[in-house]
Point group: C2
Chain length 338, copies 2
C-alpha cells in the first residue's frame, strides 16, 4: 500500500452516496464518449422497432441468507424492480454467478431454488447464464449479477426528470427494513420482533398501476442511499424541489429503535421493496387507492409534494415544525446490504 | 471444512469441462422449471415483435492485464462474440463491476478506458451499469459482468443443432493463444516470442459474413474448454459426428511448444478470438474466401467435416494416420483464464 487512500477504492464507494456517484460519473464519463448518454440504472432502448428497458446489478450481500430473503431473491427482485420503476414490464433475466471455491453445493442449490421461485413470483424467465469459479479467499461465497429485459408499458413517460410542481410524492410503505434487518443480523442486535427485509417484486404492483391509472410522472426504488438518495435524484433530474413531511414518513417501531440505537437516519437506509411515485396532483387519490388495494402498497401514503424551488433540493419539515435540507449520504452507511 | 469435496464447489467447476457442465445442468434444471428451456450461452427471444439475442458472462481473469489485452477488452469482446456466434448483430451491453476495497483507481480507470475503446471497436454501446464494492480480501481486484443485446441477422438460422452430414468445419485461425498467454504470464515461462491473447471482436467478421454468404449452419466461439468443447457441443446438439484432421489444425509454434512443455492438448486450450463455423459443403469456398479477406480470418482453414455417425462424437485423425475420440476435458485445465 504505497498509494494514498483517495487513490484507492474504498468500501464507501459502494454505498449509494456521493462518493459512489463521483466514482460512477468518472466511469460513466469515459463510456459516455462512445455512447453519448450517461449510464442509467436502467436504459430505455430502441431495439428492432420495440422500446425496451435494460438493467443490470451485481449482488454481494453478506450474509447470503437473512430474515425475509436471501441473495437470490434480492437479485431477481432488484432487477425486476429497476425495470418496473423505469415503466417497463419485466420479461427476461440473465444470471451470472461468481462462486468461491469451497462453497457448499447445498448453499448454491438453496439459492438457485430461491432464484427460481422469485422469478416465478415476479413472472420473469431466467433465460441465459454463466458460472465462474475463483480460488478460496478470492470471493465471498457467491456473487450474483442479474440483468433484466422488459418492454415499456405503453402510454406512459415515466422518468426521474418528469416531476412537476404540484405533484404528490407517494411511498408504498414503511422504510428502512432491508438495511436494518441485515445490520441486525450482522451485529447480532435485536431491534424489534419481526424485523425482516422488505424484498419484493414491485413490478407486480407497478405494471398494473401503470396500465390502469394516470398521471404518474416519476418512480424510483429506494435501494442504496435510501429514500434520501432517490428523492434527491428526482429533485436534481427534474430541476425541482421536493418537500416532505417527517410526520408522514412511515417507519416501523423496530426501524425507529434500530436507527436511534445505531445513530442512523431512516431516510438513508436501503429498502428492497419500497419505491417513490411522483404523481400529478389531480391523480393522487386514484394512484393511492390503486396502491392500497395491492398487498405491496397497503401502507402507501403521500409524504410530500413537488415545488418549483429551491430547485434540486429535498426539504424535510420536521415533526417539531422546523425545516432541514436532506442530502444524499456521503459514503457508505451499511456496506454490502445488496 | 466438514463436508466432503464433492459437496463443495471446486475450481474445476469453472473450467468449461464436464464438471462445469454437470454443475450448470444442476443449476439449469431448477431454473428450467419456470422457463422450459435450458440456459444457453445466448438466448434468442421474441421481444415486442423483434427477435433478439441476450447473453451474459462474468469475467474473473487473473491477472487483470496480459499480453494482447486486459479484463475489460475480454469482457466486451467475450459478450459481443457470444452474440455474433448466435447469429446476432451486437448493439448494446451492460457493465456491472465488483470492486475490491483497496483497488487502485488508476487500475480501474485503465480498465474502463479499455472497455470504452473495445466497445468502440466492436460497434456496441455501453448503456447501463452497476458498481459494488466488497472488503479487501473478499474479491480479487475487479470482477466484471457484461450482458449483451443484439438483433438476429435476418435470413439465417444458425444453431449448434443445425450441423448436417457433408458440412465443412472451419476455424478462423491458430488456436490456444489466449490460454497459453495467460499461463505463460502466471508461471513466468516464455513459450515463444510474441505469444499473446487473441481476444478480438469476432462480430466484425461474423455479421457481414452472415449477411453476404450462405450456407452457415452453426457457429461457436472456442472459449473455455477450447476447440474440443465446442466441437463436442455441436456434435451432441446436432446428433452427428465431427471428424477433424490433426494436420490441418492451425497451431502456432509458441502454443505447440507451450503445450508440449506443460503437457496440454491445444484442442483443450481457451481462445478469445477463434470460432468454429459449420457450413454447407456447397458453400465452403464462398465462406472460406469471405473469412480470409477479413483481418480476423486471414488464416481460416477447413479442419474437418460432419458425418452421420457415430452421433455425438468428435473424432481426430492423427498426423500418424490413427484415430482417436476427442472428449470434453473433465475439470479445469487453466483456472481463471476469462
Amino acid at each position: 500500500m504505497g498509494k494514498r487512500d483517495e487513490e484507492r477504492i474504498l468500501l464507501a464507494h459502494g454505498g449509494g452516496g456521493i462518493l459512489m456517484r463521483e466514482l460512477i460519473s468518472r466511469v460513466t464519463g469515459k463510456l459516455g464518449d462512445q455512447g453519448g448518454e450517461p449510464l442509467q440504472d436502467s436504459a430505455v432502448l430502441t431495439l428492432g422497432g420495440s422500446t425496451v428497458a435494460f438493467t443490470t446489478d451485481s449482488f454481494v450481500v453478506s450474509p447470503l441468507f437473512f430474515p425475509g430473503g436471501d441473495i437470490g431473491r434480492l437479485a431477481v427482485f432488484g432487477t425486476v424492480n429497476d425495470l418496473a420503476v423505469s415503466g417497463a414490464r419485466p420479461l427476461f433475466i440473465s444470471l451470472s454467478l461468481i462462486l468461491e471455491e469451497g462453497l457448499e453445493l447445498e448453499v448454491l442449490e438453496r439459492i438457485v431454488d430461491s432464484i427460481a421461485s422469485a422469478a416465478g413470483e415476479a413472472g420473469v424467465r431466467v433465460v441465459t447464464g454463466d458460472t465462474k469459479v475463483v480460488e478460496n479467499g478470492k470471493a465471498d461465497g457467491l456473487f450474483i449479477t442479474t440483468t433484466g429485459l422488459g418492454t415499456i408499458v405503453e402510454g406512459e413517460g415515466v422518468s426521474s426528470a418528469n416531476a412537476r410542481p404540484g405533484d404528490a410524492v407517494i411511498v408504498n410503505g414503511t422504510i428502512g427494513e432491508h438495511g436494518l434487518a441485515i445490520l441486525s443480523l450482522r451485529e447480532g442486535i435485536e431491534f424489534g420482533a419481526g424485523l425482516k427485509s422488505d424484498t419484493a417484486p414491485l413490478s407486480n404492483l407497478i405494471v398494473p398501476m401503470l396500465e390502469k391509472t394516470s398521471g404518474i410522472h416519476a418512480m424510483r426504488d429506494a435501494t442504496r442511499g435510501g429514500l434520501a438518495a432517490v428523492l434527491n435524484e428526482i429533485a436534481a433530474d427534474s430541476n425541482a424541489c421536493i418537500r416532505i413531511d417527517e410526520s408522514r414518513i412511515p417507519v416501523s417501531e423496530a426501524v425507529q429503535t434500530g436507527c436511534e440505537l445505531m445513530g442512523y437516519e431512516p431516510l438513508h437506509i436501503a429498502n428492497e421493496g419500497k419505491f417513490v411515485t411522483v404523481v400529478d396532483g389531480d391523480h393522487t387519490d386514484e394512484v393511492l387507492s390503486f396502491m392500497r388495494a395491492h398487498p405491496l402498497g397497503v401502507r402507501a401514503v403521500v409524504i410530500g409534494h413537488v415545488e418549483a424551488g429551491p430547485a434540486g433540493h429535498v426539504i424535510l419539515e420536521t415533526v417539531l415544525g422546523g425545516e432541514r435540507v436532506i442530502d444524499i449520504p456521503y459514503g457508505d452507511l451499511l456496506p454490502r446490504i445488496c
